[in-house]
């Protein structure tokens, strides 16, 4: 099954070093694929690779579109969206 959703990056500096590490660590805790994009139709980036995540250079204010697949797709989507909305616990 595939699930998708989106959230706006509101933390101070966008998808940066520390948020990237948090995002990839969380993504890796799920067995299925976790991907994100800056547009609803992609291109899609593997959220488990910090190198790829950093290359996207997603700035503050960007909308993160997230899609997940696999048996834990629902949980993965909810967790990723929650992390972004919590501003990666950065305040």
């Amino acid at each position: 099954m595939m699930r998708s959703g989106s959230a706006v990056l509101t933390n101070a500096v966008g998808l940066h070093a520390r948020p990237s590490v948090k995002l990839t660590q969380l993504a890796k805790s799920f067995s299925g694929t976790v991907e994100f994009a800056l547009a609803p139709d992609g291109p899609w980036t593997d959220a488990k690779s910090p190198v790829k995540v950093m290359r996207v250079r997603a700035a503050k204010g960007a909308t993160l579109h997230v899609r997940t697949q696999g048996v834990d797709a629902d949980a993965a989507l909810a967790a990723i969206i929650d992390l972004v909305q919590r501003q990666f616990d950065e305040h």
Partner: protein
């Protein structure tokens, strides 16, 4: 051989002598593959894997002794090096016949170029981290012991990062920078640890050459003659003798000649400055600058701040610790935080003016400080206060922070709330402030009273904390404290400056806060002052 004298600016005083090491330069890498003529891709691939593993192990070890921002940045490097995506291009190059060293260098340079080309300042700044990763793996590949410098190195570089500074043992060494700045974090750290440092040094490649360094004069003598060496030895000996006489005062309480106890506190900007420092040498911490925490790529979380503040409070072991809330702006701009293009940043959005406009930043800091207060005696000091309403607005936020923590059942305590007295308007109307304590910020107070910035060379002589106008104001603040029973301390540079200490004591200041390395000399000076004759 005739000696060559090079001149720069003093960023941290002291002497050193030895052979110069160029940082970030290494001998042309040679690997087995080149000795054997034709390369063995399998062996090179294995060498790269081993080198990356070793780099990750080193980083993990560094993380254990790091905290806050530094730990996060090291964690970022580990995550990146763990990612196949970073190493695959290098593996492809190796398969195509390149050595591991060449392949890794090319692959990383391509990745780094992507960061350097970014329009976003935050991403550009990360290029430095990737350079760090490239170097660490290269060191592991060519068998260099570690990327941290040998103890006591005399290092020549264009500039140096705080993390690099913190990862090395500088005892006996020195830092020579072609660029750099005396106001950088590294300079601040160097001063607090007594590491000689010169910036703006006009030096080409003097790596491998013998040098004598008198950082106090900003002087480097390359290939010294025996005459140079003798004179240098005499200067060092004289300086050491002074230090020896002074050092005896460090562990003693500060007492004036007529027996009056003077409270001596320390100023710090980073918990690492407390390493190896005995809390018994001071009466507490009079100023914890918190700007350093906010200069990283991302804002520090409340938890990260709580950890660092708590570490400092624990060190003090019950003695009071005064934290200054974020004092960005003026001479301390922080990208993304302080406004750009102010015509006069010293008269603009800085200190509490800025933090009150950013509750998203201020509130987490106040919460973190209230949480740290559960571990000891914490005071909160607000910088750049002009009006009582600024103190009250901060107090309201602090009470809100404590109420939130209470509701969430998170351990905390309400810290005492005081103000820095550095704006003349506040200094002249102290009776209208309901502050638990006052701390005289003599640097800014001096420049606002004298209308002269000490960072502007042409008027720096006017920015004199010993001028009667400044001293008279300091006397008024002290007298107000005495009358109203409010504690008054002084935490500017003058507080640790032996030229000004007697004058400050004469004007009634009895609590001085200064960098740790100045404590002994300050106590020595205090012991010569007779306060009975002064008053």
């Amino acid at each position: 051989m005739t000696s060559l004298a090079l001149k720069g600016q003093c960023a941290s005083p002291g002497f050193s002598a030895g052979i110069v090491v160029a940082a970030g330069k290494r001998p042309a890498p040679q690997r087995a593959i080149e000795k054997g003529g034709k390369g063995d891709p399998a062996a090179e691939a294995l060498a790269l894997t081993a080198a990356i593993n070793r780099a990750v192990i080193e980083l993990r070890r560094l993380v254990e002794s790091a905290s806050g921002e530094a730990a996060d940045m090291l964690g970022f490097q580990i995550a990146m090096l763990d990612d196949e995506e970073l190493t695959q291009p290098a593996r492809d190059e190796i398969a195509a016949g390149k050595t591991a060293v060449e392949a890794w260098t090319r692959a990383m340079d391509a990745e780094i170029a992507g960061y350097e080309g970014s329009d976003e300042e935050y991403f550009q700044a990360r290029a430095n981290d990737l350079v760090d990763m490239r170097e660490r793996v290269l060191d592991a590949l060519i068998g260099a012991a570690s990327t941290s410098l040998p103890p006591g190195s005399i290092v020549l570089a264009d500039d140096i990062t705080p993390s690099r500074f913190l990862s090395s043992n500088w005892e006996g060494g020195a830092i020579l920078l072609r660029r750099g700045s005396a106001t950088s974090h590294v300079a601040m750290l160097a001063r607090s640890r007594g590491v000689p440092m010169i910036v703006g040094l006009q030096a080409d490649d003097i790596a491998g050459r013998n040098v004598l360094i008198d950082a106090t004069q900003g002087l480097v003598i390359v290939d010294p003659s025996s005459t140079d060496a003798t004179r240098f030895e005499q200067q060092c000996a004289a300086s050491r003798a002074r230090d020896m006489a002074t050092a005896g005062f460090l562990g003693q309480p500060a007492v004036s000649r007529n027996g009056e106890r003077i409270i001596t506190l320390i100023n710090i900007a980073d918990p690492s400055e407390l390493d190896g420092l005995d809390p018994a040498c001071c009466d507490g911490i009079g100023l914890v600058r918190t700007e350093l925490l906010f200069e990283g790529a991302t804002l520090p979380s409340e938890d990260a701040q709580t950890d660092i503040y708590t570490r400092i409070v624990r060190w003090a072991a019950g003695k009071p610790v005064t934290f200054r809330t974020l004092d960005a702006g003026g001479d301390k701009p922080i990208a993304g935080l302080t406004p750009l293009g102010e015509s006069n940043p010293f008269l603009g959005m800085r200190g509490v003016r800025l933090t009150l406009s950013r509750p998203d930043i201020f509130l987490p800091q106040l919460r973190a400080l209230a949480r740290a207060a559960a571990a000891g005696d914490v005071e909160i000091m607000i910088p750049m206060v002009t009006l009582p309403s600024e103190l009250e607005a901060t107090r309201a936020l602090l009470h809100q922070a404590c109420a939130e923590l209470g509701a969430a059942q998170i351990a905390h305590r309400l810290p005492a709330l005081g103000i820095m007295v550095e704006v003349p308007a506040a200094a002249l109307t102290l009776g209208t402030f309901d502050a638990a304590f006052l701390s005289i910020g003599s640097n800014d107070l001096t420049q606002y009273v004298m209308a002269a910035g000490r960072d502007i060379a042409a008027v720096a002589a006017l920015a004199d904390p010993g001028h009667e106008a400044v001293l008279r104001l300091i006397g008024m603040i002290s007298a107000h404290g005495e009358r109203s029973g409010i504690k008054v301390s002084l935490c500017g540079d003058a507080g640790g400056d032996e030229r000004f200490i007697p004058q400050l004591l004469a004007r009634g200041v009895r609590i001085l806060s200064m960098p740790p390395r100045l404590l002994a000399a300050a106590k020595q000076v205090i012991a010569t002052v007779n306060l009975e004759s002064a008053s």
